[in-house]
Amino acid sequence: MPECTFGRAIDLAIEHAMARDATIVLIGEDVPMLRAPLVARFGTGRVLAAPISEAAFLGAAAGAAMGGLRPVVELYMVDFIGVGLDAVLNHMAKLDTFSGGGWRCPVLIRAPSGGGYGDGGQHGQSLWGMLAAIPGLTVVVPSTPADAYGLTATALGHDGPVVLFESKLLSAEWLEFLGRGARDSVTFDVPPAGARGAVEPGATVPLGQAAVRRQGGDLTIAAVAVGVHRALEAADRLAAKGIECEVIDLRSLRPLDRRTVVESVRRTSRLLVADEDYVAYGLAGELAAVALEAGLTPRYARVCLEDTLPYARHLEAAALPNVERIIAAALRLTD
């Protein structure tokens, strides 16, 4: 079980799959440089440098999947999905239905996401709620290197379109590239267990299966990505106050592991959602609906991004679901 970084875990899963399956190709801006090892191993015929034309290369990925390839498409950041959403919403996600099941659409979209390094509101969004709303799509959001590897591996074997979110704050490579830029003068609040960890080559993580990261009977905190680590830290501190939190890492948003959430909330009667995505019409609401649909009536709070992510580091830190905000909400729910 070698240790590796979060971003490298995704790279590795892709590399392993590409070695096994010659129909996998990688498409994206700057991939010859960003994924140099894959170019070195598989050549430029399978690692295609794309122009800054997200709409065309996402659409082409759908067409290539129809033609028998299994494209992996990288976005520079999920913030830019706005120029290419049509390919995802109206083509990849609907091909199965439109073709009467004749075609699935095995495309993996790798979407770096999230803030925490002061890059401003057009470069720090999460937007997984927006994508998870689309029937026909699979949406996964790992929070550890092991899950990053395992979910990528699973996605690469899945026959439908998958969006894989890669938290930039967990990904040492992105953080260096976009945040640090070889400076020693900046620091980031990186959760160590998310940024580096053991990865088991060949392991997969099933879609739609959450992981209970910590057990506790007083309060359920549901989260993904960085939020999981913030929740765990908050849970540690809350434990010191005698409040035992159960922390659920949802891992997939579509399909969503409703059962794990419901079972936990049934026990704790309290649900707190810590989500880096926008607060309204998204994940936090979906989990509220899941709880109510199951006939549960938990006390409930959501700690999410309320507005456009601000640029200034201190404002950004306050706007993201941080440990203090989670603790404060937890205390309100358990008072």
């Binding site: 129909t23 034309s53 033609g67 028998g68 083509h91 073709s99």
Partner: protein, 342 residues
């Protein structure tokens, strides 16, 4: 005149005439975009395709699919919303997909170009000497993903033929009113090999496509074929602009009344108002002129005339196509009350 080209054109037209009838009878729902007048392009291009070639289509997709040999009954069943339709009745006429034929369509304007680029990419990696063809309208060449694909296909040197059917309109807008430059020039500026044909002339289309596709199979850069075509029957069945243009005094009355009413209300400046009314009138006149002039240039009629030298073959083809469509229709309507004769 190669008889098969005439046959394919006739199949496409006859199929669509049948579809139009089903649509008018209310057995098909929603919009219905037919390729009436585009049959020569479909036949001239698609007859060059081989197994393993891809085909990406826009909303006006029936003629190429018919020529490609997609089973007519499954297509009709789809339009009728039946579970054994191509898309199990869940797709509809802008979303006809056949994996067997590597063919797909889309109702989002411009989407056929990236889809075609992807099919071409797959062909280039998996199927030597196989290519993809994307059909597009002229209006679609103002859509970002289409323009991006003009670049992408060159950057990746894809074996892609884009066939742009230039009918000079996008729904109710004359393309010239909202477009700069010529489609072919645009493609050339991105580095495509380009050609231009009269899209009513099936032999010209066939020859041009042969040259371009031949080069693509040898690995030459992507090719762009501009085929000018009449829009014989408006944008879609029931097109109100066409009805107004043809019958301004009956079908146009309501709109023209509203226009006149607004133009004479207070506010706004007078010159502008007059300009507005003139613009409406101009659009209607153009729509009518287009429909009439183009009506004289029906490509199917031209092809039929070219078959006159061989009336027996022509008659045989016509009978066979009639029978083919009639029996497809009968099969498609098997469980529809009223069926074929309603």
């Amino acid at each position: 005149m190669h008889p098969d080209l005439y046959r394919q054109m006739l199949r496409a037209r006859a199929y669509e005439v049948a579809v139009a009838d089903l649509w008018r009878r209310g057995l098909i729902s929603g919009e219905m975009h037919l390729g009436t007048g585009e049959e020569a392009v479909a036949a001239g291009v698609v007859t060059h395709l081989r197994d393993g070639d891809g085909l990406a289509l826009a909303h006006r997709c029936s003629p190429p699919l018919v020529v490609r040999g997609v089973p007519l009954v499954r297509m009709l069943r789809e339009l009728l919303g039946k579970p054994d339709g191509l898309g199990h009745g869940r797709a509809g006429h802008m979303h006809l997909f056949s994996r067997e034929h590597l063919a797909g369509s889309s109702g989002v304007v411009g989407a056929s170009l990236p889809m075609g680029a992807g099919l071409a990419l797959a062909a280039s990696r998996l199927r030597p000497r196989r290519i993809a063809v994307a059909f597009t309208g002229d209006g679609a060449l103002n859509q970002g993903m289409a323009l991006e694909t003009l670049n992408l296909a060159v950057a990746w040197n894809l074996p892609l033929l884009v066939v742009c059917i230039d009918n000079r309109w996008a729904i109710a807008t004359r393309s010239a009113d909202v477009s700069g430059g010529e489609p072919g020039e645009r493609a050339a500026a991105f580095g495509w090999q380009t050609a231009r044909v009269d899209g009513r002339d099936v032999l010209a289309v066939h020859a041009a496509a042969q040259t371009l596709i031949g080069r693509l199979r040898k690995g030459r850069k992507p090719a762009f074929l501009l085929a000018t075509c009449p829009r014989l029957d408006g944008h879609f069945l029931g097109d109100p602009m066409l009805r107004m243009a043809r019958q301004p005094l009956t079908d146009g009355r309501e709109l023209l009344g509203e226009v006149a009413g607004a133009a004479t209300r207070k506010g706004g400046d007078l010159l502008r108002r007059v300009g507005g009314v003139l613009r409406m009138t101009r659009l209607l006149v153009q729509a009518r002129a287009g429909a009439e002039r183009d009506g004289r240039g029906d490509p199917l009629q031209q092809a039929r005339d070219a078959m006159a030298r061989d009336p027996e073959v022509r008659d045989r083809i016509e009978h066979e196509v009639h029978d083919e469509i009639a029996s497809a229709l009968e099969a498609a309507l098997i469980d529809t009350p009223g069926g074929v004769d309603a």
